[in-house]
Subunit: 220 residues, 2 copies
DNA sequence: TCTTCGTTACAGGACATCCTGAAACATCAC
DNA sequence: GTGATGTTTCAGGATGTCCTGTAACGAAGA
């Protein structure tokens, strides 16, 4: 298993897919800098390893992370590798600022949102994970974001942010917030990498939703 | 880096050293099931990789994890691999019950102690980690366990338990509690693996210190 | 239908990894 | 000093991984 993610080509593919998108085999090959044949072999390994899922449409085969659990595992793994290994200095600042982690927001922005939700008592941080408080449910209802009654995944879950070293919001809530900010044109996805760009409108929404005065600068 | 821990022999060595002990090269070779020459090569790699430290005494060379940070990274890594990979069914129940994680207590017991400390307000669980509360410092003083004034490592830190999937207590406090329970003969170390055995006296101390009625059974 | 494109499958060779055997070095016991 | 033990180093060979051809398969487009 460690060997699966240890290969640089496969690691690159997984990094690209960590935004929750699905990509064709050829595109993954280009992004990871490998030939189509080599990429196909790597993708087969990842598929057998249970990390990816695939769906064929037309003459393309689109690969994606199998589910949110796999994404969570990879994010945690990155954090652990980060602890023992190198620094994140070389990383694009945009990625450290805000990025997609499967289907929710990660990076400094994701952690800030998480902090706000806990500070305002909308999410309770227990030792066994997170939970949505009564006040939180009220707040969600006002935003027309009440969780569905039957839900397979956890309503809210902490996900260890590997650039910040602190949790951000995952689970249903994380996905819902991320989707809301995107449909409201507050966040724009970068099609090349996992980065998310905050629009002026998004800045206003952060204040409205979370009471955040968002000013980000990279601390050296 | 992923390749370092991916090799089964090296993984075995690291697993043995995760109890914070230091072991001679030959002993590690036996435990990992490798020849002395092969083991020496693996240990060199781990040393170069910054995961191990070594100290020569006599004709032995004793290897140990470099520091608590490395141990923390490996514990988190195990958790991540666990998330994506196989189950822990095959594990010795004693290890799931209580074990050393570098210098503090992990496993079901470690998580239970962590829960108790938070429930009683002695440790505050924030989104940015743990902290010792005023009440906690009072409680520690009564136990004659006040933290030293100048301390390099964090006073208390959550460490993701890879068998329980929830945090246990690490940092200075984790080490102090673990040492206290051992010197009071409440916990006995197994010299073969990382397991910790709870003595009757230890059971009493759990009640005295943490208000825990400790009865453990493996839940299938 | 025929061609083109995306993808996969199967050979081959290059390369790295891992182990074993022999040997050197250091320390301890006698 | 001599021998035994623990550890490392070096050379060799086996094994496995990874990549590049070449070729096959399927779907889309002319």
């Amino acid at each position: 298993m460690g060997a699966l993610v240890g290969d640089p080509v496969r690691a690159g593919m997984l990094a690209v897919l960590m935004d929750g998108s699905e990509r064709a085999a050829g595109e993954l090959a280009r992004q990871a800098g490998a030939s189509p044949q080599a990429a196909s072999a790597h993708l087969s390994l990842l598929l057998d390893g249970g990390l990816l899922a695939v769906s064929a449409r037309g003459r393309h085969r689109y690969y994606r992370l199998r589910d949110a659990d796999v994404a969570h595992a990879i994010e945690t793994l990155s954090f652990a590798a980060n602890l023992a290994g190198r620094k994140t200095e070389h990383l694009a600042p945009a990625l450290k600022h805000a990025r997609r982690c499967y289907d929710h927001i990660a990076g400094a922005l994701g952690v800030a949102i998480c902090d706000s939700l806990i500070l305002k008592g909308r999410v309770i941080a227990g030792s066994d994970g997170f939970a949505i408080s009564a006040a939180g449910h009220e707040w969600l209802a006002k935003l027309d974001l009440s969780p569905p009654h039957a839900m397979r995944r956890a309503a809210v879950r902490p996900c260890l942010d590997w650039t910040e070293g602190r949790p951000h919001i995952a689970g249903w809530l994380g996905a819902a917030l991320c989707e809301r900010l995107q449909t409201a044109c507050g966040l724009k996805r970068n099609s090349q990498n996992r980065a998310l760009t905050l629009t002026p409108k998004g800045r206003a929404l952060l204040g409205e939703y979370f009471g955040l005065e968002w000013r980000w600068r990279e601390h050296a």
